[in-house]
Subunit: 692 residues, 2 copies
Amino acid sequence: MKTTIALGLGLIASAAQAQNGPADPAVNETFKFAKPAGQPDAIETSPDGQITVQVSTDNDGRAVYMIARNGKAIVEPSRLGMMFTDAPKIERGLKIESVAHAKSDTSWTQPWGEWRTIRDNHREMRVRLMESSALHRRYDVVFRVQDDGVGFRYEFPEQQALPHANIAEELTEFNIAQGGTAWWKPAFLWNREEYLYNRTPINAVGTAATPITMKLDDGTHIAIHEAALVDYASMAVMKTEGNSFKAVLTPGSGAPKVVKTGAWTTPWRTFLIAPDAGGLYMSHLMLNLNEPNTLGDVSWVKPGKFVGVWWKMIKGEWSWARGPRHGATTANVKTYIDFASKYGIPGVLVEGWNIGWDGDWAGNGSAMQFATPAEDFDADALAKYAKSKGVSLIGHHETGGAVSHYESQFDPAFKFAADHGEHVVKTGYVADAGQIERVNADGSVSREWHEGQWMVNHYLRVLQAAAKYKVSIDSHEPVKDTGLRRTYPNWLAREGSRGMEYNAWPGKNPPEHEVNLAFTRMLEGPMDFTPGVLSLTGSDNSPIQSTIAKQLALYVVLYSPVQMAADTPENYAKYPQAFRFIADVPVDWEDSRVLNGEVGDYVTFARRDRKSRDWYVGSITDENARDLTVTLDFLEPGKVYEAQVYKDGPGATYATEARHSIAFETKRVKRGDALTLSLAPGGGQAIRLKAL
Amino acid sequence: MKTTIALGLGLIASAAQAQNGPADPAVNETFKFAKPAGQPDAIETSPDGQITVQVSTDNDGRAVYMIARNGKAIVEPSRLGMMFTDAPKIERGLKIESVAHAKSDTSWTQPWGEWRTIRDNHREMRVRLMESSALHRRYDVVFRVQDDGVGFRYEFPEQQALPHANIAEELTEFNIAQGGTAWWKPAFLWNREEYLYNRTPINAVGTAATPITMKLDDGTHIAIHEAALVDYASMAVMKTEGNSFKAVLTPGSGAPKVVKTGAWTTPWRTFLIAPDAGGLYMSHLMLNLNEPNTLGDVSWVKPGKFVGVWWKMIKGEWSWARGPRHGATTANVKTYIDFASKYGIPGVLVEGWNIGWDGDWAGNGSAMQFATPAEDFDADALAKYAKSKGVSLIGHHETGGAVSHYESQFDPAFKFAADHGEHVVKTGYVADAGQIERVNADGSVSREWHEGQWMVNHYLRVLQAAAKYKVSIDSHEPVKDTGLRRTYPNWLAREGSRGMEYNAWPGKNPPEHEVNLAFTRMLEGPMDFTPGVLSLTGSDNSPIQSTIAKQLALYVVLYSPVQMAADTPENYAKYPQAFRFIADVPVDWEDSRVLNGEVGDYVTFARRDRKSRDWYVGSITDENARDLTVTLDFLEPGKVYEAQVYKDGPGATYATEARHSIAFETKRVKRGDALTLSLAPGGGQAIRLKAL
């Protein structure tokens, strides 16, 4: 039996194309939907007027929001609310108490990134909601509306009727107003974020990690994600029915998924909204919704390429553990230092350098010592040698999921890194989802999830501990990226999807994988994918489903300020002409453009080096060959460039030995010229446009 | 980075059609799939050899099970496992220690039900698994295989390495091996089980409550559910990718979803498997997997029809609360007693008879007094009057979700019921999902879910408290039915889906709803749907999408041992000829048959009265008219029956005023005769086959 009846809202969103913002009466009349009398309108539009959001309450007093683009619904009325483990949920019986609007148009500078300058032009609407019941609890829902997306978050003030919030679940809904196609990874499975992307109708999504990218029936592209995930649990979206989703927060080991006291806010729930795939990538919404740099001077944060003692371990030829196959020996590392130095690559990653790898460390890392090298790794000598060769070692902290154990060694660990000239440390959390080991104050052990509240905070604790020693972080098995590199510029990159390593093993990444990444994972931020395996072979010489040219293009397509040349020095020696591009390509950009692209099919990026006037172009395709014509309208007028082209050679295809077929070409180009990029199946093309 | 690689299992299940059971070498060779050497085979078949299950371990030592029918996979290798909040999960590194087989073929008697005699013919396989890691934890997975389905459960022995189990999640997977169509309701939404059914491709399911019914591409029908849900959290199935699902347990207010100590078992995870829809209904797997009657003599449990002070409240004409519109007045109840007595209906439900309804009680029932009548309800006089008229009052305990409050009144509440001749009490838990109020020992309040472990146990505590007073229970807003009526025969029925009440309100049940129920909700067990609204009008005279004949047919289609005649006496007075069927139809059956049916389209049931030789036939359809021919091969040979037919009249359709068109016919029939049932759109047909 139920006594309250939820009535559908009569949605009217036919013509909200007014350019004049929320005060415009035309918008109000054409856009608004049914709501109780006596409540203020709560409507906001993007600066260009194309995107409109509205908040209202339904017949049961449940707050709902909706989003439209050019008057057509993108998000149908979707409920807001919050459940607690020890208090009635906040959902029904709400009234809109007040609505406040603001606007802002500013710019800020990224210390490193895809773009130097980020414009933040948005309108803001703050809707104050209060329960009409005895408890009279209240919260604000705050919307930020840009031309390329919408973010909103809950802001709970300190209040007597809710002195603490033990959050059982967030009741936010995402009811997509149209059918379409979705690209998504399942959430809450054992292998965390490391799944291939599904491409299904929106209504065939299961429970998905964010970002989830959708192309709606009317061609609008959207991506649902979150920004500024701090002191809260990461959100997945669970398909309920049809094209409707609800938030599901990641569990922790405690009864509430999130615990809050005093005043608190949720992360921003975000919709990137664009007419095409490229528009999703070009949005700065995620970064704009994060707080500015909190670390002060970050001139010590150094983007850069690196090589590393790694691929041979991944392939099973060397071991992390000590013994006859130990990879991180002084001699081996010297080889890598020499190679890096020779090609101007500033970093050398060394995995397995420390004590703790000998047993079954995955999911069981309590033997890891983060300031104690293995006997055959002469850390002091190598640090000195690296310095003499103008390169730096990159540290490595693999926790094996023993996170409290790691935290207890923060200071010696990062001091050791700093003392050995390591500007960057790669961290690792190899443990199945839900198997992070947390030691409580009483000595008992709890099992945490990589994306639960406690771990979300842990990843930030690492940044803070590292910053004290001017060390930057590249997190593997991380929490997803929600733009926090703005706030913590020493969070250079992370993994958080299937990277190159899967090409070492059976079950390799298919040719579409990197194309999928471009408009899904890469919407989060930098990924340490570790491209550049020019040998195109994994363990036991198993073939990688890529051409060589595609490997090169990945350096432009898959942005990261720390970009690995993942293959071995001896393999690179076999491909000197192709390797030239890896040696040349920068990792820090003045500007970035998406020249073309369809989610999961193909994409072409152009990026301008931050330290020169050179541009770089990278284009990749899935298993289908394509000819893509791009116009060089981004080049400086009147300047001549030398195009150094690395392209799929005759007969190239990912599917046969012809994957090694590559061709090189050099020609002069200028602004406005058109280039046709011929991509082989599973292929790509990389171009350096060197300003002459 | 991941260091362990999950390899797909090479599934070979091409020809497991041997009839000879698990020992047959042909089965082993054709059915088994890859597994580590040195482990015993773990294969079991159904008594008729058509269904085969196998357990193995994958390359990471994860236990997996699979199910095939006639050699064709129904369930692909699906993992087993268990996560804890304070210990490493049990999933990887398992070895099969031993496999034991058993068989059994017995029968038992239902004190009331759809069938008097239940045959339990099954094979059993017990697979003992042990971790090869340091902890050496172990569990058994026990499979029961019938000709019409498979059940399995985890059985954890008492063991030092797992002294208690704080279960964070159960890792059981359900990877359906074929595409097909699914009928399902979303899980974990605010309105609990009260959603319309979705009919979608299997891969478009979201997170579904069980039972979820599927018709696979090869025509096989399956339903996933659970049996014997005791001291555990209810399970939903979350679609992960494609046609794959994983278990999701219902949360509680504590950190673990389930807490166990010593030796413990899960409920049975069940697959009904049949060649057609009717075969799903005819399975006795669910009942067979429950423990026998634990209450001893249950001759005091009385199936029966009832009328009630209810529909006028649901329609908004009367109120539960005291005041001028109060429904449960002495005078009103007398009218219902008189009506029930006149037509031989043994029960009169009265809602709103007690103190506690005056405020906003839904989700907030702490004012409810379960032994204190409202001033205008003379309980003693009415009990006496009812007895004098040969009928009994049916009690009503609405908790409003204040469950600890209710439990504190168990004894006075059930004593009051017994003292007033109430053999049955209808209970209610009107609170949104996750909003059950539990008062802890220290006075703090926790919020529980209707289907979480604590509430699962609460519903059983009610049965035990009621049994002490020889009272039976009809639970509304219940936990789902998992066959526990076998163990607790005083659990007569429950709601647990959208019942008739939704026809009082806007957003009425569509014509397909009851047809959907037949092969989904009704696979659980009895539902107190409350059919029989012959006026076919809800609040404000809004039309119900049914014909009159369909209302009658529902008494045969939707089995319940307590079956309401939900309309008002004054309305029934307008339909005397149709009402005759309601007066005649029994609620307790000797035998039941599904004569035909397609999930969500139509269904015809025949049931034999337990107290006579009469048979009753009920047939219903969705929005489409149909002619269904049934052969009366279930009648006794050589006997003549009078068929009293209640059928859709000329022009009948749910869509217009012609929904009231009904026709009556009487004719003689005998075994082997064929009848053609002509069902109108949204219509039905009811037949009494009176043995002459």
